[in-house]
Point group: C2
Amino acid sequence: MDVTIYEVAKRAGVSIATVSRALRGTGPVAAKTREKVLKAVEELNFTPSRLGVSLAEGRHAANGIVFPDLAGPYYTEVLLGYEEVASELGRSVVILSTKGRTRVNDLIKDLAGRVDGMLIFGHAVPELLVGELVRLGVRLVFLSRDPLPGADTLRSENTASARALARHLRDHGYERFAFLGAPLTSRDDVDERWRGVRAELGGAIEAVDTGHYTVESGFEAARKLLKGAGRPRAIVCSDDEVALGALLAAEELGLDVPGDVAVTGWDDIMAARHARPALTTVRQPMRELGARAARALDELITGVRDTPNHLTLTTEPVIRASCGHHPQEART
Amino acid sequence: MDVTIYEVAKRAGVSIATVSRALRGTGPVAAKTREKVLKAVEELNFTPSRLGVSLAEGRHAANGIVFPDLAGPYYTEVLLGYEEVASELGRSVVILSTKGRTRVNDLIKDLAGRVDGMLIFGHAVPELLVGELVRLGVRLVFLSRDPLPGADTLRSENTASARALARHLRDHGYERFAFLGAPLTSRDDVDERWRGVRAELGGAIEAVDTGHYTVESGFEAARKLLKGAGRPRAIVCSDDEVALGALLAAEELGLDVPGDVAVTGWDDIMAARHARPALTTVRQPMRELGARAARALDELITGVRDTPNHLTLTTEPVIRASCGHHPQEART
DNA sequence: TGCATTTGTGTAAGCGCTTACAGCACGGCA
DNA sequence: TGCCGTGCTGTAAGCGCTTACACAAATGCA
């Protein structure tokens, strides 16, 4: 990768300006000259240095993406949609995981210096820095976060779906409920889900903090909960991974799902479908979130749009076996 | 992000060289001067332009990673390990998915111009291009691929584990086997697994091509296989996703796993543990593959090492319920 | 006190491109 | 024949940094 435009120019017997014009198609170039240039390019196997191009153009042709942790299907799916569209738009994708990192601020700032804009998951970035980035003029799209000035936000609907899910469970005839998740750690999505079920079920549901959103934390919390005195009839989990943990806990305690206790998740990750009983959940359009984010960013970067956009995508309940037999619904 | 070193220099009343030295700690700078510089940096909120730095330094401080498709836990896990170590080493990670892309060559070349080296999954890149990249002096690490000159290769062990898995199944008393996967599409890993079980089971196992490595293709192939006349007693799948598909097929046909048919996977992805019956599989150290790749690349880039390395990591069988009860083994 | 170091700082030459501007040749037209 | 486009190409000024080199000032030592 170290043949430069100068060598091409020399070989073709023209100036570097002509090489550049011939290659980019800007400005007029005589057919014969173009041919000479292309031939030299071919022979030397020349690829313009991205660094040189970017420096001169003043743009990176790259997008960043910041997530708290790539583990788990949710982030992966979003990333997938994001990268696909970004690539379509001619932009590379630079990733950054903040989990367990010290000096996150520096990492983010470094990233900001490598890209034209970035997608940030929820609260993966300290609040103070968010303001600074906005002030710096970095193009930003936030995922699953309350709208804020100076940046796009993108999310999928939570409250109404949560209410619908809660209603569905109540229609089963269940009366005691628990919500399993970490609603106190400011993941807006989960907070909304909690408020949704709460609004529907009122005092019949209690929240249990799992601390994290992992199979393990779900398992631990569910085990404690199911062993306790007032065992809930149904457990609404903040996401599928927590729910998978709950299923494991029930299994360990010899409880039948959904016979003894119903369980629901959120996201519809792959494992949800393969768990037994298959997990009732709410499908979030994860790839589309990523894809939309990439397009939104493109609009902001190219300047097609300069006012922030705040969009909410709809979700879809997926009723499977883990919530119990329900006459009105089909099963997957 | 558009305050430059010149403005800092002016504000601090020094030259840009001094600013650079003060910030990077190269060369001597008087304490008082350093303070002035830092103050100016602070006030202007200056971050050196990555482009400028890279151009001057002649390095990107970034690594690439190329995968056929990010879908599925295998790639994610590797990516996770890779990004973590790369970040530790001060390198960003630029991703590129080749699935369904036209002009892959251009994408790869563009990527090569953005990074100091890259990790490439198996055969995600056309063979012809591999040679060209090597010739161009791009630092490369290949995953799950036969050793080739001019680049590192990294893989996890397949043949011996496959033989061990096959032996384990035979010890159950099973006699007719099938191998489900797409061994003909040149994924070296899978090819080795097939050869391993084949070496152990000989004519007792037949290969069935699924075309892809997805739950769906596994489902389709397994359904056809299980409906057919000579139904195998055990199905060895090329990876967990195919195996999950096989479990679904068995369920649909009303067959008991492992009572009627045993199923095994490969990789030990999250869903393997949550499937019912839980999937017997072979754990591949996915994160470590990523982490090692990042370190290997670093060695090549920094020049600590200049001869290619070819490493094989060991795998670990994970015996769960899907292969049947087996007195000698514990169950997870 | 004088000289050789050391320390601190600035100047300027890159790094590899893009592009505004200028210049040159050629053809068409009056 | 003279003049004015038009088409093509080259020159050179950036883009934002790093760093070799030169030089001045401060220090150490005899």
